[in-house]
Symmetry: C2
Subunit: 396 residues, 2 copies
């Protein structure tokens, strides 16, 4: 039979989804599985978005513009303005999720073998997108001991080679929940400027910031218009992961013209989802207030419960709804599989994401897992209890 490509063979399996068959087996055997592994919130989508789709007047479900519907992009600019990001609607290209935005961007600014420096641990699919586009991820290691703060400028500069084209960070971070300070962003800006690199921020969790902290966007930086690119998505903001609507924002015209060519080749982003996304922009602030309060409470409970377990280290997240946890085990890939395959407490178990998939540095993250606090508080408490019992049993 004809052979698969080297690239196809190299594509990593999703660390979040690779345990799915074990979870399915567990469920078939009557075990309840609490899903701490995936960022699929249990929060309801704003009714204003759902209703807009129910009341749509589409008769011919036609292509939208390749760069996304004009009314949607225009309305998006007012959303960004509220977040101190001043842009024109032509600085936005609507994409099929943040995933597509990253693929288009990587292809537009990097050739195979070019390098992008990424704060590590990072969103696992960055590796998949870099494999798909042939570019190399160069990790800037952040440590759980520092709560995953950025390393020094010197550390970054040591990583820069002739092939470096960009620095990418997720702010607030998946999987760390780390919120980068204005100072840290300015540090990166100075590196980007000095070495003529693009500065890319995946800001899909912009709203989810706790403890009165403020999110500082790379697009609030002065004098860096040609360098900064935001990746965004409605998935988490409005709990509408299934919409598949994201966008790419830049004031750099050449970047936008190039990304548009990739966008045109795939014709258009999904039409129904753009109707939902445009309507979602009128979501009242009260929705976010409630959701953020809920996530904060969950985070507090999760962290408190985890800290009660001996040998467990937690990096307290300041944003998003993830948390990296170090466990007293040698290999969390094995442990996570064991949780589904060989363990249950009262016919219940938990599914977690082993953190190795969020690192490209060998050996790092092997003792860590990512927990997504997307379950209600009772389930979250029960999940940590299960984890505690499991850890005790696993030791023996």
């Amino acid at each position: 039979m004809p052979s698969i490509s080297i690239k196809g063979n190299k594509m990593p399996e999703s660390p979040i989804r690779k345990l799915v068959p074990f979870a399915e087996s567990a469920k078939k055997n009557g075990t309840k599985v609490f899903h701490l592994n995936i960022g699929q919130p249990d929060i309801k989508t704003p009714s204003i978005a759902l209703e807009a789709v129910k009341n749509n007047a589409v008769e011919i479900l036609s292509y939208s513009r390749s760069e996304g519907s004009e009314t949607y992009r225009k309305k998006l600019t007012t959303y960004y303005k509220k977040h101190h990001i001043e842009i024109d609607h032509n600085d936005i290209i609507v994409t099929t999720g943040a995933s597509e935005a990253l693929i288009f961007l990587f292809s537009s600014i990097m050739d195979p073998e070019d390098e992008v420096i990424v704060a590590e641990p990072f969103y696992a699919n960055y590796i998949a997108f870099s494999t798909a586009t042939g570019v190399n991820v160069v990790p800037a290691v952040c440590k759980i001991e520092d709560n995953f703060a950025l390393p020094s400028i010197e550390t970054f500069e040591k990583l820069i080679t002739k092939k470096t084209k960009a620095i990418l960070l997720c702010n607030p971070g998946n999987p760390t929940g780390y919120l980068y300070s204005k100072d840290e962003i300015k540090k990166l800006a100075s590196i980007a400027k000095k070495h003529d690199l693009f500065l890319i921020a995946d800001e899909v969790y912009r709203e989810f910031v706790y403890d009165g902290e403020k999110h500082y966007s790379i697009m609030q930086l002065d004098n860096l218009d040609e360098h900064t690119i935001i990746i965004d998505s409605v998935s988490k903001r409005y709990s509408m992961c299934g919409a598949r609507v994201g966008c790419l924002i830049s004031r750099n015209k050449t970047v936008m013209q190039t990304v548009l060519k990739f966008a045109q080749a795939r014709l258009s982003p999904p039409t129904y989802a753009q109707i939902a996304s445009e309507a979602a922009l009128d979501t009242p602030q009260s929705y976010f207030d409630e959701v953020i309060k809920e996530y904060r409470e969950r985070r507090d409970i999760l962290v408190a419960e985890l800290q009660k377990i001996k040998g467990v280290k937690v990096a307290v997240p300041k944003g998003a709804f993830y948390c990296v946890v170090e466990l007293p085990v040698e290999n969390t890939d094995d442990f996570a599989q064991w949780l589904l395959e060989s363990f249950s407490d009262n016919n219940e178990t938990v599914m977690v994401a082993p953190a190795s998939g969020f690192y490209s540095t060998e050996e790092l993250g092997k003792k860590q897992i990512r927990i997504a606090y997307v379950l209600n508080q009772r389930d979250l408490v029960r999940s940590v209890k299960i984890l505690k019992i499991a850890l005790e049993k696993y030791k023996n």
Copy 2:
């Protein structure tokens, strides 16, 4: 400023969309533009699909499975069975349009510099997808004099190199409207088998076949399960281009496992659109009977009107809703732009797709255009009349 990638610079502009700014200017100046340039049908989407979305019960718009909703894939198998394609639902991965299916497939089976032989002229975005994935399109030239029938086996075999991984055709063809016969498909099958190549068919126009002819799918072939891959889409079938739902079908497990890794990285295809697509499977046959009758009548009128113009050559399409037309001009890129920029008859003009973008062989197709007969019959007759008047004026 940081530089764009070589790949980004190489990405072709869409030949269908590159004239859009000129069309927009014309419209601003009060000229009515008849769009013969794009495959966006004016046919209504089946109400059963539209209603399903209006009546959806979604409360949390969550991710579907990366390979697409299971109920949708299961129901799809009965659709394919009706078309003599016997597959299991695990042989299907739902994608965000046929575009994504092709990108995933090219990445899964080909590495940069590998080659795919494509019957030329071909769907213009094949070039964009090959540029995006770094593979090379090798054209197997088909001629307007032969109505765009496939060249001989010998011609194909001459094109095969060590880097050849696949043969790709669109059946019925965009832009040619050519319907490949069972004999032609078997010819390709023998080459694929002999040289161990994948055989890929883009069958998104399967239903649109005229004059009592029958579509013969590559998946009706015996003993070629490891080689054949279908690319499909709901866009044209149900006039729902804006859904962005397609699929990739293969009985080759290794191909499917590899494609799934790309699908997992982008999380899932759009949820609302899958609701529409699943419901659309219950579209009554009467819908297709009417639509096909309408397209056939349009084709007949279009071809008859075009044949009245001196110096115009038409390849009579047997399927899809496109037609390649040779005009008595030197360069249809210039002519198409002139139509929008400098010509109007009674304040009306037409927008056509210059055919050069459907060829990778230099110099070929320069006198040709693609016409999509997606307008009603009156507009179509008027459009050809405008074209005739324009050609007379352009000569002088």
